[in-house]
Symmetry: C2
Subunit: 425 residues, 2 copies
Amino acid sequence: MAPLVQCSKDQLLQRQKELQALYNSYKSRELRLDMSRGKPGADQLDISTDLLNAVNEATGFVTEDGVDTRNYGGLDGITEARRLFGEIMGMPAELVIVGGNSSLNMMFDYICTACVKGICGNAPWLTQGAVKFLCPAPGYDRHFAITQYFGIEMITVPMTENGPDMDRVEALVQDPAVKGMWCVPMYSNPQGVTYSDDTVRRLAALNPAAPDFRIMWDNAYCVHHLYEQEDVLLNLYREAAKLGHEDMVIQFASTSKISFPGAGVAALAASAHNLTDIRSRMTVQTIGFDKINMLRHTRIFPDMAAVKEQMKKHAAVMRPKFDIVLNTLNTELAGKGIARWHNPRGGYFVSVDLMPGTAKETIRLLKEAGVTMTPAGATYPYGVDPEDSNLRIAPSYPPLNELQVAIDLFCICAELAAVEKLLAQ
Amino acid sequence: MAPLVQCSKDQLLQRQKELQALYNSYKSRELRLDMSRGKPGADQLDISTDLLNAVNEATGFVTEDGVDTRNYGGLDGITEARRLFGEIMGMPAELVIVGGNSSLNMMFDYICTACVKGICGNAPWLTQGAVKFLCPAPGYDRHFAITQYFGIEMITVPMTENGPDMDRVEALVQDPAVKGMWCVPMYSNPQGVTYSDDTVRRLAALNPAAPDFRIMWDNAYCVHHLYEQEDVLLNLYREAAKLGHEDMVIQFASTSKISFPGAGVAALAASAHNLTDIRSRMTVQTIGFDKINMLRHTRIFPDMAAVKEQMKKHAAVMRPKFDIVLNTLNTELAGKGIARWHNPRGGYFVSVDLMPGTAKETIRLLKEAGVTMTPAGATYPYGVDPEDSNLRIAPSYPPLNELQVAIDLFCICAELAAVEKLLAQ
């Protein structure tokens, strides 16, 4: 297939006619498909059913060190859950705090506390004048929403195949107003990129001007491999600690996409210094999080081997969905010069860069035909993609047959938008 | 028994000798007893065991309106949980948001948001200069800790048998810097007082100078009756709504002491205007709370009748504990003029006002003999009881035999401290 930009006007008009006819035929089917969020499908939820029988009268309520999980107490979480998340995040258990059901909530609380109370004795961000945050983009819209909510200025850093553009990052952290950075370092949301060893080492070696600069290391997909050949992520905390930079790193993870998104367990890990700081808020905020749910999880996932087994089951469901998306993109869009994408080996998303100026139109066409996707721009700070190019595909929720229809239509809409754009030039 | 202040010095010296001997005999037993927190005992935790089998493959995961509780979504909580908490709090279900396992965390988040973002379009409290909060005292130490954490000046309002001193409250809210008030209106922590109808009506009728004044109505013990003759609390929201003051009220409740303190469900209820305001933060903070745990609770407690049945079981365990405390106080301290207390008909605490200047010494003596209690002063803002008089007894956690020992020793220590105080004068 020749790149569209090399087509004559007549060829484009002909192609437009074909695509429009195809589009109309889909539209007449009155589809109602949702590819908008990284929500597991029903078959994935069934994988974790055993969890719900893991704690009851027969199995007992008590942790390995004798804590009755039904009662109050235990701000750091139960011992076995701290150890499990330590394994998941590559951290010693004593540097882990296990929370409620949402790592996003833990991130929100961290940023909120930084704004109101300051980090480790530094002045509250709200009193420091303009404060900025580095946002590798495309990235996770809910990260950007947190920084925007607190009035923190977001600076877009381009993502590459190896992670954020580190030349830019190293330059930007010389500004003392730059207080931190969002990272989804493994199977990134949305591109599925895993940061290279070099990127991780350069992050660890950062010497930011701000003493309260923090890397928000959202390792949401750290065990979410889809294929046998797994990506490998260097341990940022360990690299940073080698240089005495361990206070710069706050790690987050959760079981949301290991067990149940609605009822999983989240955790953070950080240096002892940071944890003391974090606990000074937590001790006022709550008496403790849901320890029974922690115990449910550690009974089903006593160690990393159990987590890996579980993730293989998820991968068996997810892989065919990724295959459909990637194969269809390859068949329908490759060579046309109107779309680029990374072939992720894990995570929850496929991110596509369309011909600049066609992302919104593609979404509009899809929506008109009954397919909901993450809005164009959502993967950029302030919801504005300066190129109007990036779209996030979330293949997990629809069943295979619906997904095939949706992605077929996606390719038609993307090409139709590109043809119309070229014709209008 | 004659009041101690009427005793001669010789009589006091004699009594001191007796008490000291008694105290020494307890001390030699090397006790390790904890009456410090309002933690249910193990027998109470067993009451809710069925909850843990309420949601599984056999019973299903889906709410009455078809939501799969295992997956993401549903910021307000599931329909049946909103309805249940509506019944508990006397509010329509649509004015309820069901959260995680901690109502304290919801209160913290509310105050935090008021500080950072402001309430319903008003300026953030952090930008309004000195901000004050009314703290009926004795009160709940964790409430005071939240306001202190955010640098909000706490103004003590004396508690009476009918609730806070409303003359003081009405005068204080004329100050626009006064932004709110903590209330535990039913079986109050620590006194077990229920606000009178007149108190509730005067609260509803408040015309605070601050448009962003909020009553934090922590109805933690609203179904926690111990005796057949139940206290009755007027519905503040309804009274306030009659006067167009409904935005002034934010209600909180939880199942922490209905099911499991470590793994219950919490909720808030407020006017539609306030809820819109609250959701504008929540939608950034989380994707949603643990819906499976909500469903567990509504399956075991489908309605208020089921809650009432459950609370009767708790009362059957708690009542003998309260009886021990109240009977022993009556036998050992009544008539000596060194202690006053309310006889609560519900809740979790008994609060004792000792002879001024003896609360700390009583706690010290108890601690030295191996009995831990809530620290003296904890029931007052900043942990400072100006009279050094109030102590909170939490009878729920120890078994009956241990409780009897602890409260016997409490009476000995309280009287010993009073005798020593009188002798030193």
